[in-house]
């Protein structure tokens, strides 16, 4: 693998990870904007704009864009998160220039009023679709409660009200401010011709006007240890299961402990073979129980998800709390042979598991595109597959203990339940770490 970087005069970064054996080329524009960059009157604009980018430019119709992607045989799509909006296409190498130039042209959409009105209906359908699905809004509500007044509190989709109130003029202004060349990374992976990539960027992005962008980081202060946890309910009487989302503080994207945190989450709450799995899922008591670490520019969190019969949710949330206490070495669980604290054997198994994922993921140019694109967009740095393997290999029990000490999973947390569980019934709050 070879990594190359170049920057245009207007500030657009161009990066590529080239793999000689690859049969395909993945290319993407990583725009450093997402829900966190919106104001209340622009709530949902980043994601809505992502849809509008596919509606055409001044000289390309939406139909023409769709036809061109299909004609190239491209697997093309886009997604929006709290921090990024990403447009990507996987093609055979001979289509690299065509795919890059089409995506580049799309970055300057026409944003026509009539398209805006039609696509607004699609966005509203997307909101309804997710509202009908597990976890029935518990994830958005929990993140809002956890982040409070921080920009990461805002959900990606927005609400029916915020989308209905959004105007095309406001979106045009948002696009002008957030899609400047200095806030965009053009990334490619797989069988990449770098010279042609740079040439495409010069031709189609070279005249983009540079513009200063405001700083995005906003200090986030998780509630201090000892403060109380919170619990909210979304009542869905007809749901078959109860869905719980629980968030607690974790290291941010600029903290070196984020890697050990992901390993810790693998030990405690991976989808299989973890402590949560053996205690709750293997026994058939929960449909799903997992814990993952998520990091953002200026904040991080551990997210626990549980789905189970509503009558069991209180007991199982308490058991999850016991498992987290046990991991921290504060109390003996004495169940299923799981010992106090994290064992060397558990660490080794999780390291091997993650290393396997790194190797397998490294073989797919489409997956590598997202890794290198987001890493560069957030940090301006590059990590190879070998770098990732070395990081995983070096994590030891001291690192795990330090994470557990600094970000106690059994400490203050924010929990939201969605399902038939009666909201009137009180659930005893998990004990906060003192």
């Amino acid at each position: 693998m070879k990594f190359l970087h170049e920057q245009l005069d207007n500030g657009l970064d161009i990066i590529a990870e080239i793999t000689d054996a690859a049969l395909s080329t993945s290319v993407g524009f990583f725009v450093k904007t997402g829900a966190r960059d919106e104001s209340n009157d622009l709530w949902g604009a980043s994601h809505f704009l992502e849809h509008m980018v596919f509606k055409g430019t001044h000289d390309l119709s939406a139909d023409e864009i769709n036809r061109r992607f299909d004609w190239m045989g491209a697997s093309a799509n886009a997604f929006t998160s709290e921090e990024d909006t990403v447009y990507h296409a996987a093609v055979l190498p001979e289509q690299q220039v065509e795919a890059t130039s089409l995506l580049a042209r799309m970055m300057r959409p026409a944003l026509r009023a009539e398209d805006f009105a039609t696509e607004k209906l699609v966005i509203l359908e997307e909101i309804r679709m997710y509202d009908d699905q597990p976890p029935f809004g518990a994830d958005d509500r929990c993140r809002a409660a956890f982040f409070g007044s921080h920009p990461l509190a805002r959900s990606v989709l927005g609400t029916v009200e915020s989308i209905e109130a959004l105007s095309v003029e406001a979106m045009r202004d948002y696009h002008r401010r957030r899609y400047a060349p200095g806030t965009i990374v053009l990334a490619a992976s797989g069988a990449v011709n770098f010279n042609e990539l740079v040439e495409s960027a010069r031709r189609f992005c070279g005249d983009w006007e540079p513009m200063a962008s405001p700083p995005r980081r906003v200090p986030f202060e998780p509630r201090p240890a000892g403060s109380s946890s919170s619990l909210e309910y979304i009542t869905r009487p007809t749901a078959s299961l109860e869905y719980a989302v629980r968030l607690s503080a974790g290291p941010a994207g600029d903290n070196a402990d984020r890697f050990a945190s992901k390993l810790l989450a693998t030990i405690l709450g991976d989808d299989s073979g973890s402590r949560l799995y053996w205690s709750l899922v293997d026994s058939g008591e929960a449909e799903h129980a997992s814990c993952h670490h998520y990091d953002f520019l200026d904040a991080g969190l551990f997210g626990t998800q549980l789905s189970c019969d509503a009558k069991d949710v209180v007991e199982l949330l308490a058991r999850i709390q016991e498992i987290y206490q046990d991991a921290a070495g504060q109390a003996a669980l004495g169940r299923d042979g799981a010992g106090v604290g994290i064992s060397a054997a558990e660490l080794e198994q999780a390291r091997n598991k993650l290393a396997g994922r790194v190797v397998l993921g490294g073989e797919r140019p489409q997956r590598r595109l997202f890794s290198i694109g987001v890493e560069w967009a957030h940090k301006g740095s590059y990590r190879s597959v070998s770098d990732d393997l070395q990081i995983v290999e070096k994590i030891d029990l001291d690192d795990i203990r330090r994470v557990l000490d600094r970000w106690p999973l059994d400490g203050p947390s924010t929990t939201v339940l969605a399902g038939p569980y009666p909201a009137a019934t009180s659930i005893e709050q998990p004990a906060a770490a003192e």
Binding site: D63, L92, T118, Q133, V281, S283, E287
Partner: protein, 454 residues
């Protein structure tokens, strides 16, 4: 943008295997898709053991991983009346202790070796799969062999396994798109082919350990088992290891499956939701039929990409929905076109009407540019599949099951090249979409026009 991936039109990759030994082919000499044909050298292997196990392999240059899949014929078609979910419960039980390993040791030993494992039950197969760094294969193979040959199937594990299956079933109740699809399959295919492989709660609650043990003894058997491996493989070494582990395995006998009757063509499933989910289906030739290429190409023009007719007319022009697509679902002897959309209740009738109009409009209106795009997408997908060991292990096994052979990428590309507007229109004229089945799931039923319901 999440989509209903289960329904994406799939053009399965095909590779023609000589019965024994490798074949090296360079499809760049044979493809006439575009001037810029890919250079993909395929190295394919196959052999059949004396006990009937079929071994398939493909070496993928440049990869560090291998992926392996064991497909046993213990699929849900053998569940039996009143025992819907037996194959799924049995598959779960097989993981809960085998040979000298406990349930926990199986998972810890696989994951300790960095194996990404999975287990699944479909209508036709009970499958155990894993992807890993190639050097870990010798660690993983004996574990899988124990799961197939020496599952403990203890009474102590039965209740936990049953509860896990029931939890999964409860979860699917909250997934409206899944429920609509499940209802549609029950309408489309005769029992047991249309029954839900994940089971029915009332049946699963009644299943005992004897039923599980009998099922495993009868249906997890070497004859009709396919083992496919792809990635950085050493074929001779692999075959040698499998012969040691599974060469003397001889259990079970084939049982015929009795087909029952099909359900009604129309069904509304009441569901408390904002959106109404719509599924429309009709019969297509199964994958092993040569004209499935014509059928799936027509279907792809209808709803297989972002420039397809359904996406353009239902979503792009009218903004009626977020999800709309058409896909091909094939069993060995039956296949269906399945069109899907989910939209708010007030706009569901218009969505169904537009979908039906586009389906009816298909014969006689295909354009060359549409076919070019379908070919390009199919070709691209075929080549990109060569980058994934797991995709190839799945692909070659699927082909063997459907065709009793594996086509080369070159043969597949050549077959696509033979597709023309005339060949597809000819097929459509003889086989226009007819006898449509329609499922709606939501608050209110939809009206199916008389010309469709007649």
């Amino acid at each position: 943008m999440p989509a209903l991936l289960k329904l994406r039109c799939h053009f399965l990759a095909s590779l023609l295997l000589r019965p024994h030994g490798p074949s090296k082919l360079n499809p760049s000499n044979q493809s006439r898709f575009h001037a810029f044909s890919p250079t993909v050298t395929q190295t394919l292997f196959s052999t059949t053991l004396d006990n009937g196990i079929v071994l398939l392999g493909e070496h993928l240059p440049g990869l560090e991983s291998v992926a392996i899949a064991f497909h046993t014929p213990a699929g849900a078609v053998y569940d039996g009346a009143g025992r819907c979910g037996l194959a799924t419960l049995s598959g779960e039980m097989m993981l809960r202790g085998a040979g000298k390993r406990t349930s926990r040791q199986i998972v810890e030993d696989l994951e300790g070796a960095g194996v990404q494992w999975s287990q699944s039950v479909s209508t036709s197969h009970s499958s155990f799969s894993g992807a890993m760094v190639a050097r870990q294969l010798p660690v993983a193979l004996p574990i899988y062999a124990d799961i197939l040959r020496r599952p403990l199937l203890t009474i102590e594990e039965l209740e936990n396994a049953r509860q896990m299956v029931l939890q999964n079933l409860a979860g699917t109740e909250d997934d409206p798109a899944h429920r609509a699809m499940s209802a549609l399959r029950q309408l489309r295919y005769p029992a047991p082919w249309g029954m839900p492989s994940e089971g029915i709660s009332a049946d699963v609650e009644q299943l005992g350990i004897d039923a599980v043990r009998s099922f495993v003894a009868a249906h997890v058997r070497p004859a009709a088992t396919i083992i496919a491996i792809a990635g950085r493989i050493d074929w001779d070494d692999f075959v040698g290891r499998i012969k040691v582990l599974l060469g003397d395995w001889n259990t079970g006998v084939a049982e015929p499956v009795q087909s029952g009757s099909r359900g009604p063509r129309f069904r509304h499933v009441p569901h408390e939701s904002q959106q109404t989910h719509i599924a429309v289906s009709w019969s297509l030739p199964p994958y092993r039929s040569d004209d499935s290429y014509e059928a799936t190409a027509a279907l792809a023009i209808l709803g297989g990409g972002s420039s397809s007719r359904l996406f353009s007319e239902v979503r792009e022009r009218r903004g009626l929905c977020y999800s709309v697509s058409a896909g091909y679902h094939t069993l060995r002897d039956f296949a269906s076109a399945i069109c899907y959309s989910g939209t708010s209740a007030a706009r569901a009738q218009e969505t169904l009407d537009v979908m039906l109009a586009e389906i009816a409009r298909l014969p006689g209106t295909l354009e060359a540019a549409e076919l070019d795009r379908v070919k390009a997408r199919a070709k691209s997908a075929l080549v990109m599949q060569q980058e994934s060991s797991a995709a190839r292990a799945g692909g070659i096994a699927r082909q063997w099951y459907h065709l009793g052979m594996v086509r080369t990428l070159a043969a597949e590309l050549t077959r696509y090249d033979r597709l023309s507007i005339a060949s597809i229109e000819g097929w459509l004229a003889a086989n226009p979409p007819c006898e449509l089945s329609v499922v709606s799931l939501g608050k209110e039923p939809l009206e199916v026009p008389i010309e469709v319901s007649a």
